[in-house]
């Protein structure tokens, strides 16, 4: 359907004139392509101040609601300008998106296109949400944990922000995910690439931001809830998120709970340390568990005081660990017990709590102060076993990690830029008979500023980072279990190291094409893990050894973004190239671990590296349907040897075709092609490519939506090259079918 441009302009004028000033809680309208006046489907419409995200249908129609008075909408779509639109009391609004030329008078534009941040459209599953975003991959660590991989980097090399607060919690490997549930947040964004001054010094691959719950504008309430069941690993999930506002005070409360069974895999045998094991009944035994997430918070806002918010978040996951993860399994360990939900040894318990408070006050300079205290606990229990000589441990506690983290940020923001300070303190303690990392700390203070010049934006950050750890030693045993010496596993370390980041963002507006370039240079101080680890890392199946002599690495990175659109086609391309001096990564050595069942020693080494990548997203309108393609290409090399860096994700292409069956029902067919992993590190196994099919049905009603999604329809047996399970030769999860229902109930005072 093609809408004449003049009709849209007239409609907009009529709407503007006919509406009087009154509280505005909902708005509907259309999003269309400015040049052609054709409807734009799947555009994301974010309503402010509540932050709720909606999407347009195949007619470009949207219905956005907030439990409080709406003041603006942010509309974005790949290949088009992102705009933020302020309005006064209109109930219908039509918005044109152009190739980043923002001029749709008489509606005023209050926002600014920011090419450094990408809004992620949420789905019922966080892993799916991340995987369908080009440049992001995710590692499935069970239904409770997720590990984003941004441009080939993960763990402590990316930032994950919970309402602006960096999430810590031993994020040093493939197996250490983060505990978040996106249904308890007001949106997800990702920031590609390194050198973003406000993301902190670790965000080499970029950052993922989970937005805090926003303030409702007036009295009222909003409750979102839903249920989900997934055939495959038999996961069930329920969630509810409610907010109530009375005058100046808002309370919000949310909770989600899920239980998941043993992971289903289309595989009958696997190998570990050259041993062959059978898998019974198509499931990885002891990989089920439970996950709980909670949120309680309040926001108090007055003109005099500004806005003060207080949030308490809590997450807990109890999950079995596949017997190969901790120790050498016997075949009997892998036979299962008939109960896919049971959790036996080995198992893990991971929990996180966060107390955060934020104060914001508008003025000549907008003032923001953010303070948080968080705790992360990770406990691994396993059947006691000794490596080599020595007595058998007396407890099941193989490894525990407790980390406490304090973060503060003070920021002054004006029309032309911002400046501020960040500080964080991390204290970590470890325990258990499987030593991996000593007690450690990491403190940071940073001064940050950015300034918008006429031609571009300059950013700078200076940090002072203090890192260190305790010494650690164990008795050294002979074959007769007599102590014959001391096995020194870590020596005390205290470092104070400066680091910095500089960036320049340069937008270039052409007639039909919008482009931008970013150049950044930055340093990164080695992580505690890279400095002091020395033991078996069960999650990666290796003996990993830190290097206390490591120095900060330096990187120079350039990024480019290009987007253009026509009547039926739009494309968005992002690319980067990054040169790293002294890139710290884990590398196999010529030595074997001094303890049994632990294989080769992998040590952290610093070698120069080059990384480059390209991400493409294209949409093609075909009648009422839409063909969408996303693709990511990544290359990472250790320059001194010419081999790939570890865990370089292969080329990945996702094609999907969405077709509306009627106004409420739509179907999506998708195909994901994963190329073979030609770029591998030393001793890293080659991984074959894969071809996976999926489908989805969505039925949208007034306030609710029913969704059916299916992944890996033909139950293909495929290895995920970057998964922790890959090392065991264990394939990714097999076919799953998910049913979900969600409801969004809003009641508010319109007077």
């Amino acid at each position: 359907m093609i809408y004449p441009k003049s009709a849209w302009v007239m409609a907009a004028l009529v709407v503007l004139v006919s509406n009087t000033i009154q509280a505005q809680f909902s708005v509907s309208g259309h999003v269309y392509v400015a040049d052609s006046a054709s409807p734009l489907s799947d555009a994301l419409v974010q309503a402010w101040p509540c932050g709720a995200i909606f999407s347009t249908d195949s007619y470009g129609t949207f219905n956005a609601e907030c439990p409080t008075e709406l003041d603006s909408l942010t509309v974005s779509s790949f290949g088009f300008t992102t705009v933020t639109i302020a309005f006064d009391g209109k109930s219908v609004i039509d918005i044109s998106l152009t190739a980043l030329r923002v001029a749709i008078d008489p509606i005023s534009i209050t926002g600014e296109f920011d090419q450094s941040e990408v809004l992620i459209a949420p789905t019922s599953d966080l892993m799916h949400t991340l995987d369908r975003t080009p440049g992001i991959r995710s590692l499935d660590l069970g239904a409770g944990l997720i590990q984003p991989v941004l441009r080939g980097l993960m763990g402590s090399r990316i930032a994950i922000l919970d309402g602006g607060v960096p999430i810590v919690g031993g994020r040093w490997g493939q197996d250490h995910g983060v505990l978040v549930d996106p249904v308890l947040y007001d949106g997800i964004e990702w920031v590609p690439g390194g050198g973003h001054v406000w993301l902190g010094p670790n965000a080499v691959g970029g950052g993922v931001k989970f937005a805090s719950i926003h303030l409702l504008e007036t009295k009222g309430s909003r409750t979102q809830y839903g249920i989900n069941y997934r055939i495959g690993d038999n996961r069930s999930k329920v969630y509810v998120l409610s907010r109530w506002r009375n005058k100046n005070l808002q309370f919000h409360l949310g909770f989600s709970a899920s239980i998941f069974g043993d992971r289903n895999v289309p595989q009958k045998t696997f190998e570990y340390i050259s041993r062959t094991y059978e898998i019974a009944e198509g499931r990885l035994p002891n990989t089920g568990g439970t996950a709980y997430h909670g949120l309680a918070g309040l926001i108090y806002a007055t003109n005099e005081l500004g806005q003060i918010s207080l949030d308490i978040r809590w997450s807990n996951i109890q999950q079995g660990l596949f017997p190969g993860i901790v120790g050498i399994p016997s075949q009997s360990d892998l036979m299962g017990d008939g109960n896919i939900y049971s959790v036996e040894l080995p198992n893990q318990s991971a929990s996180r709590w966060l107390l955060s408070s934020k104060w914001m006050k508008r003025g000549e300079l907008e003032r923001t102060f953010l303070f948080s205290l968080s705790g992360n606990e990770r406990i691994e229990n396993a059947p006691p076993h000794a490596h080599g000589y020595g007595p058998k441990p007396m407890t099941d506690l193989s490894l525990s990690l407790h980390e406490y983290h304090l973060f503060a940020e003070s920021k002054w923001e004006g029309d032309r830029g911002a400046f501020g300070f960040q500080a964080e303190l991390l204290r970590g303690t470890t325990d258990g008979w499987e030593f991996l990392l000593p007690n450690h700390y990491r403190d940071r203070v940073s001064a940050i500023a950015d300034y918008k010049f006429t031609s571009g934006t300059f950013g700078a950050r200076v940090d002072m980072i203090s890192t260190g750890n305790d010494s650690y030693s164990e008795p050294l045993y002979a074959i007769n279990n007599e102590v014959i010496g001391e096995d020194i596993r870590a020596t005390a370390l205290n470092n104070v190291t400066p680091s910095w980041a500089l960036s320049w963002f340069q937008p270039i507006d052409l007639e039909k094409i919008n482009m931008s370039f970013t150049a950044s240079t930055y340093t990164r101080v080695p992580s505690n893990y890279a400095l002091a680890a020395n033991g078996i890392h069960h999650g990666t199946f290796r003996f990993e050894q830190g290097n206390p002599d490591l120095k900060p690495e330096t990187a120079f990175e350039v990024r480019a973004a290009l987007s253009t659109s026509s009547e039926k086609f739009n494309i968005d391309i992002r690319s980067f190239a990054s040169l790293h001096k002294g890139f710290i990564h884990i590398t196999p050595t010529a030595s074997f671990a001094p303890i049994a069942h632990s294989g080769q020693i992998y040590s952290f080494q610093a070698t120069d590296a080059f990384r480059t990548g390209l991400e493409v997203k294209m949409n093609l309108q075909i009648g009422r349907g839409k063909l969408a393609t996303t693709s990511s290409v990544l290359g990472q090399w250790a320059l001194e040897i010419g081999l790939g860096l570890p865990f370089t994700s292969p080329v990945d292409i996702i094609n999907s075709y969405a077709h509306p069956i009627d106004d409420k029902l739509s179907i999506t067919l998708s195909h994901r092609a994963i190329a073979p992993s030609y770029l591998v590190a030393r001793n890293e196994d080659f991984t074959k490519g894969a071809s996976l099919f999926g489908m989805g049905l969505t039925f949208k009603m007034n306030k609710s939506a029913l969704r059916l999604e299916a992944d890996n329809l033909f139950n293909k047996n495929w290895l995920d090259h970057i998964s922790a399970y890959r090392t065991l030769g264990l394939v990714a999860q097999g076919r799953w079918v998910s049913f979900s229902w969600s409801y969004d109930l809003q009641t508010f005072n319109k007077n």
């Binding site: 050259s274 016997s330 030595s591 049994a596 001194e640």
Partner: protein, 249 residues
């Protein structure tokens, strides 16, 4: 691209076995047979085009797992499974021999895996080489199970699952050239190492005793993992311990 950015050596070839350099290298043997109480020497020769790194001998009980390419051992009653050997040796040059000598303790019986791992100086690791070591033992008593509930254990392909409250008949022999001084069968709950059932086999220093035991799995036995243990001591005071893993439901 790899060539473009490569600034140093790119040795990605793992080291290899050079069987022609030694006689009876372990890679040429299908298995190694040895007696408890003896000294065993194993050797092999290794090559690399650039330079060798390290060699590791890892000898551990084969109970509870198998290795790729290994022939199925079937039902084996292991004893002395705690015994293991771990030794790391440096290899230098492009060709080097590795050798290990070890004493097999008098308490060991069953099958052990000899895993040979080796790397080159760049860290390229070859695939592990695994050879079974069959250990015979004339020092400690020998338990043989011929029949469990009417089934020869040698035909078992899966873990045994017994029901709480059921009766299990165990038939077999226990023998020792010094005579059997003591013999006992026990059912142990693995979660807390609690003995939940046991019986002694009547002995009077015979060198071979046939037994048939009716074991009652307690009706209040909680579901989970258990171990059937068989213990004996000969007239010379040599004690042995063996058994197998099972599940009670």
């Amino acid at each position: 691209m790899i060539t473009l950015f490569s600034c140093g050596t790119t040795d990605t070839d793992p080291p290899t076995i050079c069987t022609e350099n030694v006689e009876n290298g372990i890679s040429t043997l299908d298995e190694v047979d040895a007696d408890a109480g003896t000294t065993v020497t194993l050797l092999e020769s290794f090559c690399d085009d650039e330079g060798l790194g390290e060699l590791r001998w890892d000898i551990h009980s084969a109970e509870g797992h198998s290795h790729e390419g290994e022939e199925e051992e079937g039902f084996v009653l292991h004893s002395g499974t705690d015994w293991s050997v771990l030794e790391v040796q440096n290899l230098s040059g492009t060709n080097a021999d590795g050798q290990i000598s070890f004493d097999i303790p008098n308490t060991a019986r069953g099958v052990w895996d000899v895993v040979v791992s080796f790397s080159d100086a760049e860290g390229n690791a070859a695939a592990d080489m695994v050879t079974p070591l069959h250990v015979e033992n004339d020092f400690i008593p020998l338990f043989t199970l011929t029949d469990v509930n009417g089934v020869d254990p040698a035909t078992w392909t899966e873990e045994q699952v017994w029901s709480a409250g059921s009766t299990v008949t165990l038939t077999g022999t226990v023998e020792d050239s010094d005579g059997i001084a003591d013999a006992e069968v026990l059912l142990i709950r693995e979660s807390d190492e609690t003995e939940i059932w046991s019986t002694e086999i009547a002995v009077s220093n015979e060198t071979s005793i046939d037994f048939s035991i009716e074991m009652m799995v307690p009706s209040d036995a909680t579901s989970g993992e258990y171990h059937l243990e068989m213990e004996a001591e000969d007239g010379a005071g040599n004690a042995m311990h063996t058994g197998f893993h099972l599940e009670v439901e």
